[in-house]
């Protein structure tokens, strides 16, 4: 499968040649295939958000290249706008991105700037409302009259409406309750399936990353510590120590049982996997 996105030796320095010079990212390398989900983890201030801004051309790298569909995104600086249509970025507090006087106008804004025809826009708006479970009755309301959770959805709808090939979500589930969090994960998966898009998912929640990501990129103080599958990462105690990350509880339990000598598989990610494994050890499901 071909790579949709290639990031090569990417570095970014804030305030270069000033007293406040600070290296935000150093030598980041990864690829992202079509239809895959890449998680990004690291502590606050490690450069995760800087990376997301570099990827859709809001910032320009100090060094290194970002290759999207085989083309360097800064090859023709004048075309950077079209990159932003292909790489949709939802900020950490998406509700801060709202500005229009109705929900519909807010959702349409991005796609209108792409020059899409009016009747096509309506179809797209209905499509994303369907994916995100936004009731059509609120389209004429002011986005500022909605609850925080609904506002987040409207902002996300605005980005999804542009149908970007890569959807970048910066901590989308912080401050959502468990049910809304699961709904959002399912909706992101539905978008990915519908448009064969790729997703970059920045999060502090190891449990959700372990459930949805194909690969996870670990960043520490601007440097890339690892990029690997959730199984490999969370079973690697040395890496967890070094990065200061914690495996999801269920993987911790699996590893501890394994240390005690029980036959535990190496690819346990979910409670169901673990339960199945224990049932096997107990000798069947028919007690």
């Amino acid at each position: 499968m071909s790579n949709l996105l290639e990031v090569k030796n990417l570095s970014y320095i804030y305030g270069k040649n000033t007293p406040y010079e600070k290296i935000a990212l150093q030598d980041i390398n990864f690829t992202l295939e079509e239809g895959k989900i890449l998680g990004i983890v690291g502590h606050s201030g490690c450069g995760k958000s800087t990376l997301s801004k570099l990827l859709n051309g809001l910032l320009k790298a100090t060094n290194g290249d970002i290759i999207l569909e085989g083309i360097n995104i800064w090859e023709k600086p004048k075309n950077i706008k079209s990159i932003r249509f292909k790489v949709g970025l939802v900020f950490q507090y998406p509700e801060h991105q709202l500005f229009a006087d109705t929900v519909k106008k807010d959702i349409e804004f991005g796609v209108m700037n792409m020059g899409v025809e009016k009747n096509q826009i309506d179809i797209r708006v209905r499509k994303v409302c369907d994916i995100l479970n936004i009731p059509l009755s609120i389209l004429d309301k002011s986005p500022f009259s909605l609850s925080g959770g609904e506002q987040k959805k409207v902002a996300l709808a605005g980005v999804m409406c542009m149908q970007p090939k890569i959807l970048i979500l910066d901590e989308p589930t912080s401050s959502l309750d468990p049910l809304s969090r699961n709904n959002l994960l399912n909706q992101v998966m539905a978008y990915k399936e519908e448009f064969n898009a790729s997703v970059i998912f920045i999060s502090h929640n190891m449990q959700e990353l372990s459930l949805i990501c194909d690969n996870i990129l670990v960043i520490k103080e601007g440097k890339q510590l690892a990029i690997d599958t959730p199984q490999n990462l969370f079973f690697d105690d040395k890496l967890l120590n070094e990065s200061g990350l914690k495996a999801p509880e269920i993987i911790y339990i699996a590893k501890e049982l394994k240390k005690l000598g029980y036959r535990i598989k190496d690819d346990i990610l979910t409670v169901d996997d673990m339960c199945k494994n224990i049932l096997e050890l107990l000798g069947g499901d028919n007690k």
């Binding site: 502590h43 606050s44 201030g45 009259s145 609850s147 925080g148 959770g149 912080s174 401050s175 959502l176 309750d177 468990p178 049910l179 809304s180 699961n182 502090h204 190891m206 449990q207 200061g244 990350l245 914690k246 999801p248 509880e249 269920i250 911790y252 339990i253 501890e256 049982l257 005690l260 029980y262 409670v271 169901d272 673990m274 339960c275 224990i278 049932l279 050890l281 107990l282 000798g283 499901d285 007690k287």
Partner: protein, 279 residues
Amino acid sequence: MSFIEVKNVTYQYQDSSTKALDNISLNINQGEFVSILGHNGCGKSTLSRLLNGLLIAEQGEVIINGINTADEESIYEVRSNLGLILQNPDNQLVTTVVEEDVAFGCENLCLKPDEIRKRVDNALKAVGMYDYRMFDTYRLSGGQKQKIAIAGILAMKPKCIVLDEPTAMLDISAREEIIKIIKSLNQKEKITIILITHYMEEAIESKRVIVMNKGKIVLDNSPDIIFSQVELLKSYGLDVPQSIELIYNLRKRGYKIDYTLSAQGCINNIVSLLQGNDI
């Protein structure tokens, strides 16, 4: 008499057709550590704002340390007894220098300068931010800002602190630090803590868990009893920690395994289950 008495309180926002709180009654004693869980919009935050008199109940009464919050004359006494920490620290820092921010509440209580100095230093030490006292507030990380906000409340020497999702915007290490600070304030300083959260692993740290749903209190018990009611919690849009979900799945299949609140406890119980099975 309890420190906090909420009696038959109902609250409805002006532009809403449903009641945010529907006939709630609740007593919390001095020194308790209580968590409040519930899905978004269940009324948790409304309750927190009623407790420190930012909102006043339309029906029913909220009494803090013997004072009714509806009594305008003594509202400052209520607020110095009961401090409120919000989710976003940026919304509650008011000055540009850390120690000035921590002193802000005390200044409004008209305390003497040397008393304020003492309290600010102690509060900053309690949250581990004394070395940052001369820093600019806007250059701090989210977790550091939240610690400063807590120090500002601490300096007012409240009997109770209400925290409304204080860790929602923080990374894991900052989250753990904040919870550690909250626990030590409860244990060492005997401050009553009310922690509103979406993180089940934080609620487990408390002694009493209250679950809210659609403006009502639906469960109020110790964490071990609350978290053994997995199906009920899920019906309220809540989740349980993975270790409890695992035990729940095994019990559903007829295996005898006890609920426990820690990962280590879960491992121990699984080991006894597996060993029992060998015999």
